[in-house]
Every structure is written in C-alpha cells, then in structure tokens.
C-alpha cells in the first residue's frame, strides 16, 4: 500500500503539488502568505535541485534570486518592458550570474563550495549596492508596480491578491513541470548518481564537472524566476534580497521541508514563513525560534518533514 502511494506520488508529483498550491490560498489566513509560500517554495525548489538532488551546498543562491528580482525590476523601471519581458529578463540575468559564478564555484571541492558561493554572492551584493543610479543602492529598486495584465478580452487585476496569486501560480506550475521533467530525464539520473557516489559516476563515464556546472546554471535560472516573480509581487526590490541571509534562508527552507524531495521545499518554505508570521505576532525574536527549530531538525530530522514522510513511505 505504502509502495503504491509512493510510486503514484512520484509519477504525478507535479499534479499533486499543483493541486496543493492551487488550494493554498484557501488554507492560509491571508493571501500574502500564500503568495510568499508559492514564490519562496519555487526558490527552494530551484535550490533543492542543486542541494538535495545533486548534493552541492551553495550559500550564494541569493545572487540568483536577487538577480532575477533586480532583472525584472530593472526591465520595468529602466527598459519599460511588460510583465512577461521583465520575467524573462530576470531569468536571463540570474542565469547569466550563475554562468559566471559557476565558473569559480565548480572548480572548488567539498566544503570550499559553500564558502566560495557565499563570498561570490556577497560580491554581487556589494556591486549592486554601489550601482545606486541603476539599482537604487541601499534603498532598493522602487516604483516597479505592474497593476494589471491586459489579455485582450480579460484584464488580470494584479492589485487583487487572489488574482495575483493564481497568475503567479501559472508560472510556478509550469516551472515545476519543467523541473520534474529535468529530474526524470537522463540528466536528472546523472545528477543523482553524482550525489550518491561521485567517483563511481566518473567511472561510469559521466562528465561530472560539466554536469555540475549545467545543474548549477539551471538551478540559478529557476531561482531567478522565483526572484522575478517576487519583485513583481512586492513591487520593490530590497537590496537585502542579495545578502547571504537570503541564501541562508533558502537553505533552511530546503532542509526543513526535505531536501531531495519534490514537494519538500514548499513545506519548508511554509514552515519558515509560518514561524516568521506566527511567532512574529508574539515576539520580534522569531529568528531565535527559527534557528532553534532548524538546529533541532539538523540534529534529529535531517530529512525534513516531507523527506521523512517519503522515507517512511519508501520503507
């Protein structure tokens, strides 16, 4: 029975995730939380591609999330593009950043990788911080509101939180379908092979360095998409989006939910954002709670919530 559930879940994971996300606004107390879970969940999914499936811990993914956000914001603010153009521009900028950062990062092995990705992402932060005329520097990029999308016979009112949620949901769902397709492809098999035993993967003839690099860039692209959607969601791009605290946040989300699982990142994003939201009502020290919860998970539930569930179903 468990096995059937597990296999079924694996085959239709995109649909299941899609349905869960479609129902999300009806569960959450307010739509903003649902939209954040949607967007940060996608961010975590992109990150998870590298961390959970390939086994590379990057602490610099804020550069891609922020790069996507700034890309979209700059496209609207300086290039007068529409929503779709902005999103594409954001993804392109993020992927471009990952192509450059990847060259340095993939050369490093093991533990170095986390440190170097953190440092390089921080460099991106400083660069964007200094380019005040383009990016607004410390104050962030403002005035990038997109009020509505005109589809001819119907106009999507992005000031309505529910309409905005389902509009963003379309992007996220398509992205998820693509991620699932990539994971099921031979490339996805190579990724997991590298995670399980890198030396053996080399012996099997996989070009591990190139595979890692491509996965890094793909991960950057998806995180960039999440960033672009985020910029359009909150209508500004704060400079802190590029700071390594954001990188750390997505790492926490991925672990809390369950790395190496498809749906886990959304659970992780939900947990983290719920802690921030709910604990934040009682005290401003929600980071303390988040940190403690995270430490407990690292020590006792490293597979995260969803990961532990998947493990149980697999046994």
């Amino acid at each position: 029975m468990r096995q059937i559930l597990h296999d079924w879940g694996l085959r239709y994971r995109t649909i299941f995730t899609g349905i869960s996300l479609a129902l999300l606004p009806f569960i959450t107390p307010h739509d903003a939380l649902a939209t954040n879970i949607l967007i940060f969940g996608l961010f975590a999914v992109g990150f998870n591609l590298l961390f959970g499936y390939l086994g590379l811990l990057s602490f610099g993914h804020a550069a891609f999330f922020g790069g996507g956000a700034y890309g979209a914001g700059l496209a609207i603010a300086h290039l007068d593009m529409g929503f779709l153009g902005a999103v594409c521009f954001g993804v392109l900028l993020a992927t471009g950043l990952s192509i450059i950062i990847g060259i340095f990062a993939i050369r490093s092995k093991g533990i170095y990788f986390a440190m170097i990705t953190l440092a390089l992402a921080q460099l991106v932060y400083y660069v964007f911080f200094q380019m005040t005329s383009l990016t607004g520097g410390e104050n962030g990029l403002r005035g990038i509101t997109v009020k509505s999308i005109d589809l001819g016979y119907y106009s999507i009112n992005l000031l309505n939180s529910k309409e905005k949620y389902y509009f963003l949901f379309i992007f996220v769902f398509l992205a998820l379908a693509l991620v699932s397709r990539i994971l099921k492809s031979p490339f996805g098999g190579a990724i997991e092979a590298i995670r399980e035993n890198e030396n053996r993967a080399v012996a099997c003839g996989y070009n591990v360095k190139v595979t890692k690099y491509i996965a890094f860039c793909i991960s950057g692209g998806f995180c960039g998409l999440a960033g672009a959607l985020y910029a359009l969601h909150i209508s500004i791009v704060p400079i802190d989006i590029l700071h390594y605290q954001t990188s750390g946040m997505v790492v926490m989300m991925a672990l809390l939910g369950g790395m190496g699982s498809f749906f886990g990142p959304f659970i992780g994003a939900a947990i983290f954002l719920l802690i921030e939201d709910v604990v934040g009502v009682w005290t401003s020290y929600w980071q303390l709670v988040a940190g403690v919860v995270f430490i407990l998970f690292v020590l006792y539930f490293p597979k995260g919530i969803w990961g532990s569930l998947v493990d149980w179903a697999r046994r």
């Binding site: 460099l123 200094q130 750390g248 690292v298 490293p302």
Partner: protein, 291 residues
C-alpha cells in the same frame, strides 16, 4: 600622494589585517582539525565584543574585557562542539555548516534580547588613546596595540602548536585522527579544545575590533564573509596562509581605499577570485597544520 600617506595607509592596512588574521586563524584551526567550516564564526566574534560590553557595563575595564571575551566565548565554543557538533560527525561534510549557520541565527537574536538592537559604543581605553608619531605621520595608538596583540597571540599559538605536547597532538590529529585515537589519545577532547580555541580567537578579534567599528548585534554578519575570503586566499587549514592572506587583504583594501574608496570593500573578492583561478587551494593550501 606622498610616501608618508602611503606608509600610513600601509600601517592601517596592517591593523585591519591583524583582525582578519585573527579571524582566519580561528577558522583555519577549527577546519584543520575538525573539518568543520564554522558558519557561526562571525556570531562568536560578535559575542566576544558583547562580552567586552558586558564587562564594561558591570564596572570592569577594557583589559578585563580582553581577558574575559576569549575565555567566555571559548567556553561557549566548547559547549557548542560537545552538544551540537559532535553528534554530527560521520554524517556528511555539510551538516556542521548547516548547524553552525542556524546557531548564528540563534546567537544573533539572543544578543538582541539581552542587549537590545541598538549599537553600543565601546570606547578605546584611556591609556590607548591618542596617536604615536611614527616618523612619517601620526598613527593611532590603539591600532598599534591591535597589531601588537595579534603578533603576541600568533607567537603564543606557534608556541602551543610547535613546542607543546598538546600542539603535537593537535597537529597529529589534523593529519590522521584515526591513528591518534589508536595511540590512545582522546581525540574528542582535543576537538572540543580546538573548537573552543578557534572561537576564543574570534572573540578576541571581536573585542579588539569593537572600538574601531561599532558594536551591534549584526556586526558579525559581514565579518563572516571577510573571514571566509581571507581563509580561502590563504588556504583552508593553513595558519601561515591565514597570516599572509590577512595581511595581503588588509593592506590591499587600505591602499585601494586611497584611490577608489567604493572599491575597497570589494577588493578582497577580486583577490579571492584571482586566487581561485590561479591556485584554487589557496596560497599555502593544504589540510593540516604544516607551518
């Protein structure tokens, strides 16, 4: 652009480098023996500064603070290793990173709770105020003090590692922990001590830097990146690499700030990028404490 100005900036760079050296040495010590990258290093640095603040607030003086900070934070580090990091051995190289990162979150908010979110000034002690005439210009006495303390600490560390039995065991443990265990040494206790030592040195850096920068709960956040950059440039696990890289990064940042002040913060990243391209293991990169 006079030579005097250049020399003054050089000295400022050395003072800055001293802090970087202390940070990188602590990080390398921990990595060399435990193979753990301490993502809470910036947080321990910050706690060190706050121990100094606490000492001053309860009536003590700066000198007491300099003594207390490494001891208190070192003890905190020992506790961390024993209860939080030790359970993770054998699990995979990323777990201590994750845990120490979570710890940095916790420490940050704890300090916020105890000391508030506003910055607290930590003044230079009276005896170290003022400047000394170095022949080519006046240089703050306090910064000379920082350089001196760093040199003393490096000498003490060298003594410990090269001339004591404990140091011998630490170096052996970095090279081959299994063998050391087989020979009957309690490697767990050594790990505990080294982690405490590493965090203690970070705390010393924190309290030394406190009068030069401001004491805020967030002061450790950029410091973590600085520590990483210097350690990557010098080579993970190499102490002489930490020294060379710290000086290099500090001096270059100082000189760059003369010509292009906006680039001085970023200059260290370009150094790191260069090192990564040419010699990815760092200047003296090798695991272990081979001086």
């Amino acid at each position: 652009m006079t030579l005097d100005l250049l020399l003054l900036q050089l000295f400022t760079g050395v003072a800055l480098g001293a802090i970087y050296i202390l940070l990188a040495v602590g990080l390398s010590l921990i990595f060399g023996l435990l193979t753990v990258v301490n993502f809470a290093h910036g947080a321990f640095y910050m706690v060190g500064a706050y121990v100094g603040v606490a000492v001053l607030l309860s009536g003590g003086n700066f000198w007491l603070g300099i003594l207390a900070a490494p001891l208190v934070v070192g003890a905190l580090g020992c506790v961390t290793e024993r209860w939080l990091i030790r359970p993770l051995y054998g699990r995979g190289i990323d777990y201590p990173i994750l845990l120490t990162f979570g710890l940095s979150y916790v420490l940050l908010d704890l300090i916020r709770m105890l000391f508030g979110v506003e910055g607290i000034p930590l003044e230079v002690p009276g005896s170290l105020e003022g400047a000394a005439d170095l022949g080519f210009g006046y240089f703050p006495l306090y910064r000379l003090f920082v350089i001196a303390i760093c040199a003393v600490l490096l000498w003490l560390l060298w003594l410990l590692l090269e001339r004591s039995t404990l140091g011998l065991v630490i170096r052996a443990g970095a090279r081959d922990p299994e063998m050391v265990r087989v020979l009957g040494v309690d490697v767990d206790r050594i790990r505990l001590l080294v982690f405490g030592l590493g965090t203690g040195v970070a705390a010393l850096a924190g309290i030394l830097a406190a009068p030069m920068r401001s004491v805020t709960p967030e002061m450790g956040i950029p410091v973590l990146v600085e520590a990483f950059v210097v350690t990557v440039v010098g080579g993970m696990g190499s102490l002489s690499g930490a020294v060379v890289a710290g000086l290099l990064v500090g001096v270059i940042a100082s000189i760059v700030s003369l010509f292009y002040p906006e680039m001085s913060e970023m200059s260290m990243f370009f150094i790191m990028a260069l090192v990564l391209l040419i010699r990815p293991q760092g200047i003296f990169g090798r695991a272990g404490f081979l001086e």
